[in-house]
Symmetry: C2
Subunit: 301 residues, 2 copies
């Protein structure tokens, strides 16, 4: 069975300051975090753009992780760069700068070989580009979408269109409020399901995540990390674990989705424990399964 | 078996404004919320003070709920009154006023008949008074303590003393940070266990709660309420469900404590659905057990 996941998203350098440490030129971007996390479960096809300053070692790391990089376009100019500073409460961060660089002209072209990818993750990019991607695919089995406040506020009509066409929407609680105008979780979920997606995941960071389907809610806690290092990319790593696990399943149903979100929570926690993708690269399925079990143990009587 | 719970705490009138409604002269106070919640599981002995303006109907309601009120002292003067306003985000509130009235001179005297109560809940009052209560009891089986930022900041030595003498401490995440100086959950828990309590509950409101014991963590989500009305007293109702369930158990161990915290979460949710104690009075064990099951269902694969 072809079980690959296609991801379209950003490829970046991150300059991250935390209360404990500062790191420059770290690998970042939604497509990178997602790919490395998902690669522990399935084959990944990556579509994104980087500048000609993007290191050869990074591409080698991706390939070593069973990630197909023919969709990663290297173009003249600089790679997208983001600088952020985390507060003492590491759940709060300020963006110091965003230099789009070559990402400003990103027009995702899906290689012929990727067009039959059964699973798709639309990372957090402009909704019009996400629509372009959907139009290039041949009947994907399962599609998932990430977005952010900026697109809810500035390109709502396009966002509503793309939301109506996906199976799963992943958002956080404040985005749910902004998107639906509802402060309450259940009322917000009602409205967002009416927009189209059969499945909705509400990401709450250190407070865990909900999976909503029909009138049922499943909840997974976050795995409490002893010393969080860098929350950058946790949401995309969560999505990578989720979609990666799903891609290996014969049937997509609520039961399988529940297990997928637990794997998502596990991968999000691995990401937070180290800077950049460092917590994701040196993993194996034993470590991942142990964390899955620990998350289950936390809620079992 | 004598399975009663003794609670010592405040008895109040609450004047509550929410974005939807305003209610004056509602029954409130930690001892009242706790008692009514716990009464669905066990016999409750209530120690507190009210003014001679405290309504006869309220005392009748308590007695109808199997709550012994001989420890509720009615004294000349006005009952403690608290006024609070909730924001559109109902998890945030401002205190408009606190009139201690007769509560200012509260010196808890434990009636002779209560001194062998096997279970004790020390509601959020001055730590020196909590110590007085402990000194009046004859070898209780299980003791639990609630506190707040004010006592951590102003009477830390007394608070540390009382913490060292109880089996269970219930606090929220910001209180854990303030008490231990640690921002991380696991580091904070290490420090607070070193202070004495074998069990620690971290209350996170709408984000659920952790139960910590030895090096194990159990997590219970909050039950998502469709239309939250009034979060006042949710924490004390949570504690009432927790201790009330525990009082009916032959042995106290981690497994039983896990079930107790799920009952706590259920009772907290009932409290939030209506103003004052309205969500707690018209309950029966069938409704409570149904909510317990719903909370379990939310985390089961």
């Amino acid at each position: 069975m072809n079980s690959s996941v296609l991801v379209v998203g950003s490829v970046a350098f991150d300059d991250v300051k935390t209360p404990f440490e500062e790191r420059k030129n770290s690998l970042g971007g939604s497509a990178i975090f997602f790919s490395v996390a998902a690669s522990h479960f399935t084959r990944v096809n990556l579509v994104g753009v980087a500048g000609n300053d993007y290191p050869h070692d990074a591409i080698k790391m991706l390939r070593d992780h069973n990630i197909d990089t023919q969709g990663l376009k290297i173009t003249a100019g600089k790679t997208f760069r983001w600088g952020g500073t985390y507060h003492d409460d590491i759940n709060i961060r300020d963006t110091r700068y965003t230099h789009l660089n070559v990402f400003a002209d990103f027009k995702p072209i899906i290689p012929e070989e990727y067009r039959q990818s059964p699973f798709l993750f639309l990372g957090n990019i402009q909704p019009s580009l996400q629509l372009d991607v959907l139009d290039q695919l041949e009947n994907p089995r399962f599609t998932a979408l990430d977005t952010m406040n900026l697109w809810i506020e500035t390109t709502r009509p396009d966002l509503i269109k793309v939301i109506s066409r996906v199976d799963l929407l992943l958002i956080n609680d404040s985005e749910l409020n902004l998107l639906t105008g509802e402060l309450g979780l259940l009322k917000g979920l009602e409205k967002v399901h009416e927009m189209g997606p059969k499945y909705v995941v509400i990401k709450k960071g250190e407070h865990g995540a909900y999976l909503s389907y029909m009138n049922s809610l499943f909840f997974v806690p976050a795995y409490p990390v002893y010393q969080p290092s860098d929350p950058t990319g946790a949401g995309d790593s969560f999505a990578g674990g989720f979609l990666g696990y799903l891609a290996g399943c014969d049937n997509i149903n609520f039961r399988v989705m529940k297990k997928a979100i637990v794997y998502g929570s596990a991968m999000g926690a691995f990401a937070v424990e180290h800077f950049s993708v460092d917590g994701l690269v040196n993993l194996d399925r034993n470590k991942i399964n142990a964390r899955f079990s620990a998350l289950r143990q936390m809620v079992l009587l």
